[in-house]
Structure formats: C-alpha cells, structure tokens
Amino acid sequence: MRRLTALFGGGGGLIGAILVMLIVADGLAAPWIAPYDPLAVDMTASLVEPGPNHLFGTDQAGRDVLSRVIWGGRASLEVSTLAVVIGCTGGVALGLLAGFFNGGWLEQLLMRVLDAMAAIPLLIWAIALVGILGVGPFTIAGITFGNEVKLLSLLGVLYIPTLARITYACALAESRANYVGARRLQGVGSLRIMISDVLPNCLSPVIVQATLLLAIGIIIEASVSFVGLGVQPPQPSWGNMLADARNYLFSGEWWLSVFPGAAISLSVVAFNLLGDGLRDALDPRHTAQALTA
C-alpha cells in the first residue's frame, strides 16, 4: 500500500488515480452500466425529479439524466484523451528534434514556430475555428466524423507548444549527458540514440503535463459544447446538457444543472489530483507547469 501511495506521489495522488480509473471504467462501460438509452425520448416522463426510477431525474424530453451523464463522460474523455494524444505525439516529436539536434537551424526554426503557436489563446481559437468550419459532421475517405473530432484535433494542435517546450528542455539537457557520448562512441546513429535513449528519459514531465492537460481538456470540451460548438445534440455531453439546463434555471429543475456540472468537477479534480501526485513522484524539479487556458 505504501509503495502504491508513493507511486502516485502521496495520498492525494492515489485518490486521484482511483477516481480516474473509476471515471475511465465508467466511460468505457457506458453501454452496459447506463440504466437507460441516453437518447430515448419519453414525453410522458419529462422533467421527473430524482427518484428510484431515475436516480438523477429526467430532462425536458424525458431522457434519463444519469444515463446521459454516463455517456457524456464517455464523450468528454474521448475528446480530452485524443487531444492529448495528438498534442503529445506532435509536441514530443518536435521538442525532441529541437532539443536533441540543438545549435542548428532546425532548433531555431522549430522553437520560433512553437513560440508563435504559444501566442495563440486556446479557447478563443477553438471556438472560432470550429465556428468557421461549421458544426456539422464531416467525411474523410468514407468515414464520417462527428463535430467533436474537429474540436479535439484543434485542441491537440494547440497543446503542441506546451508539450514541445517541456520535451525540448529535457532533451537539450540530456543531449549533453555522458551516456549520449558513450552511445555515439559505440557507433549508434543519432536518431536511434534520440529515440531509444533520450526519449525514455524525457517522458516523466510529459506524462505529468499530459495528465494536467486532460483536466483542462475536460473543461474546454464542456465549455465549447456549452456554447453549442462541441458535441452536437442529441448526443449527450456534460457541456450541452448544461446548455439545455440553462432554460430551467428559473423553474426549479435543479437536477438538470447540478449533476452534469458535478460530474465535470469530479473528473477535473481527479485528473488534477493525479497530475499533482505524479508531479511529486516523477518530476521533482517541477518542469511541468501549472496550467491555465
């Protein structure tokens, strides 16, 4: 148990890890654990208060709020996870190249482009670009993607500078380490050293940052869906459920806004706790940054 706690950097980290596992399991198992179909409309049971049949009540179309919260979590995790995957792939690749092959034009070029990308206010660009592209589904090579794919790709691209800068700082330091010189003397090629020796040594701060970005991603997805530019109704997401709930602020249907919002907060707390814990455990020098977006 103590080892487990140490792995996640203390009690808070462990609680975060457990919560994150529960949330992920909940998202993956949505089709089996949701008590109702999240899209099933039942006008006879519209706006039912929380009770034994509907633990979280029902919304204006009689859809079960609990089931929609569960499925909404799936959408939220999908967007934030895939965005982080895109951001990590791009950021680590660029940061590693710039840091490992430092002192040349490649470093200068990559870092200047990344600096310019960091001059982009994330949320506004996400809102505006999804707005410009339009919120409909789109088709590439015969596969139709929902609107959320636009959002997550954009977020992923906008995450790149943060992650690249962390990887860069680490790769720069590592590239001057003795073991890199030793590997060179063994006749190992630069690319190979970069990928099989330097990269693993630079992953810790990236993992920490990625966890914190997951938390931000959940809030951004919810916010963008809230203004109608993220996950499109009737598909449930925490953000668009809250957008619907806005119409019932004055009539007392509190469960419509309380449960999806609590779900967002709980998930964000979970990822933040895990991220903070991992930072204490993996990144004692705190290269990963406190985040704002």
């Binding site: 506004i124 999806p260 919002g261 985040l291």
Partner: protein, 316 residues
C-alpha cells in the same frame, strides 16, 4: 532594459504576423465560398465568380493578406463584413468595453487576492489558513466557471434576490445597480485564475523562503516586512508570467460566462457572427483577442525584468 523591450516587442510583432496570417489563411481555406453564404445556395457559378471578383477573393491569399494588413495599418480597418457590408471594427469596438470591464475587474481581483492568499499560505505553512487556501485552490481549478455561474444564478439570483440573474446594467442605471450586476460574472471568471495564481504564489514563495539569501537577509536584522518585499520580488516572477497569460485567456472564458449571463459583450458578437457565418467578423474578434494576449505577455515580460533585473541582463 530598452534593448530587452525592443527585442521582446519585435518578437511579439513577429508572432502576431505569423499567427494572424495563419488565421487569415484558415478563414480563406473553408470549402464554402463566402459568396454562397451571402447570396444563398442557388446562385449560378457566374454570380459566384462575380461576387468573388468584386470582393477580391479570387486573388492569391498572400495578396489578400497584404491588403488586409495595409488596411489595418493605414485606416485601422479590421476588414469589411460580407454579410453586413460594413467594416467590422466599429461593431467590435461597440461590444468590447463590456467584456473588457469584466475581464479587467476579474483580473485585478484575482491577482490581488491570490498574491495575498498565496503569500499568507506560504508564511503560515501547515496552518488552518494554508489548508483552506489549498483546498480553495484545488476546487477553483476544478469547478468550471460556467457551471458555477448556473448554480450561483439559481442560488443567489432566483431563490434569493441578491443579484440580478443576468445582463449588465449600464453605469447610467446607477452605480450600485451596475456593480451588483457584475459581481457574479466577474466572480465566476476570476475564481479559476485565483486558484491557479494563489497556488503558484504559494509554491514559488515557499521555494524563495527556503533560499540561503533569505536566511542571510533575516540574519542581518532587516525588518521582516522588508525581507518579505525581497522575497516577493523574486517569488512573483513565475506568477507574473502566468498572470500575463491568464489575462489573455480570460477573454476566452469571458465569452462563455457572458453567454450564461446573457451579457451583450463580445461573446454575443462572436457567436452571432459564427451563426451567420460572418468570417470577417469572427476573424476580427479573434485578431483583437490574439493581439491582447500577445500584448499582455509582453507586459508580463517587462514587469518581470523590472521585478528582477537579472532577467533583463540574461535575456538582452
């Protein structure tokens, strides 16, 4: 200092050019021609070509961008909307003050309170106050502002009558009415950054307080408040950097908060523009925000150079 200023300003300008040209290309790259949006879906190809020719859309993007930059610098023109046919600048200028007020008030409050709370929390480490500040910091970054807004509207504006549930009363409606109406939106906007900044202040302050030069300063018998000033000058550097970024980011969240409170600020302009597919206006709004964002980062850099002259020496 001047060298640093010029260098940073030059770099900010370069970022601005790169980022705006990127946005410009993106708004021009949409598959839907603006002509089809303005004239309807059943236009003939001839009308479409005519429209694009009239508005200069058939020229290369680089030429269009150059034109746009020239218009901006010479006439302060952010572009002319295809939908309304008017320059978008005045439309943005008309809605910006409301948003700006919310953001500035929220920013000032979150900076002042978080520096205070973070410093006290670091000085009184492991006391009830410290735990309280840390708890609020974790909650503040986790509770999305727009949800907090919904809950607060239900609790304080609908159930009780403490604050108006939405909208911003103009100053002309009375000072207290105006202030009442901006309390909830600014609070919801500020809480996230208050949490982030107080956490940063706390950890940065703890790090500085543990340094040898702090012990030396105390040992020389300088008054405690002066030691604290020295500590703050060093500890605030990372906080100022993040605060500078936060100011720009706040405009993004202000959009969401405004939409919850039905405030007719820039968010309404932007969301309406998106609905009408008025890309020139969208582009204009985003340009203004990006400009503010870059400017705020520049100001943060210079503030840091003033707080800690070593930074100016190293970077110049």
């Amino acid at each position: 200092m001047l060298g640093l200023l010029l260098r940073r300003a030059g770099f900010s300008l370069l970022s601005l050019v790169l980022v705006t040209s990127c946005l410009f290309v993106l708004t021009r790259a949409i598959p839907d021609s603006p002509g089809r949006i303005v004239l309807g879906t059943d236009v003939t190809q001839l009308q479409l070509t005519q429209f694009e020719h009239d508005h200069g859309l058939d020229r290369p993007v680089v030429v269009q961008y150059g034109d746009w930059v020239r218009g901006l610098i010479l006439h302060g023109n952010l572009g002319t909307s295809f939908i309304t046919g008017r320059p978008v600048g005045p439309d943005i200028a008309a809605t910006l003050p409301v948003t700006l007020e919310l953001v500035v008030v929220a920013f000032v409050f979150s900076c002042a309170l978080s520096v205070l709370a973070g410093t006290l929390s670091a000085l009184l480490r492991d006391t009830v106050l410290d735990y309280g500040v840390r708890l609020i910091a974790v909650l503040g970054v986790s509770v999305p502002g727009f949800w907090l807004a919904l809950v607060l509207i239900m609790a304080l504006a609908v159930d009780r009558d403490w604050f108006p549930p939405g909208g911003v009363e103009p100053w002309s409606a009375g000072v207290s009415e105006h202030l009442d109406s901006i309390v909830l939106p600014t609070f919801c906007l500020a809480i996230f950054y208050m949490a982030v900044l107080s956490r940063m202040t706390r950890s940065s302050m703890l790090e500085v307080l543990g340094q040898d030069y702090m012990r030396t300063a105390r040992a020389t018998g300088i008054a405690p408040w002066r030691v604290l000033i020295y500590a703050l000058r060093n500890a605030l550097v990372p906080v100022v950097t993040v605060a500078g970024m936060s100011f720009g980011y706040m405009f993004g969240w202000a959009l969401i908060i405004e939409s919850v409170f039905n405030i007719s600020g820039l968010s309404r302009a932007l969301l309406t523009a998106i609905q009408q597919r008025d890309f020139v206006l969208v582009q204009g709004v985003v340009m203004v925000f990006t400009f503010i964002f870059i400017l705020a980062n520049l100001v943060a850099d210079l503030t840091n150079a003033w707080l800690n002259p070593r930074i100016a020496a190293v970077r110049a």
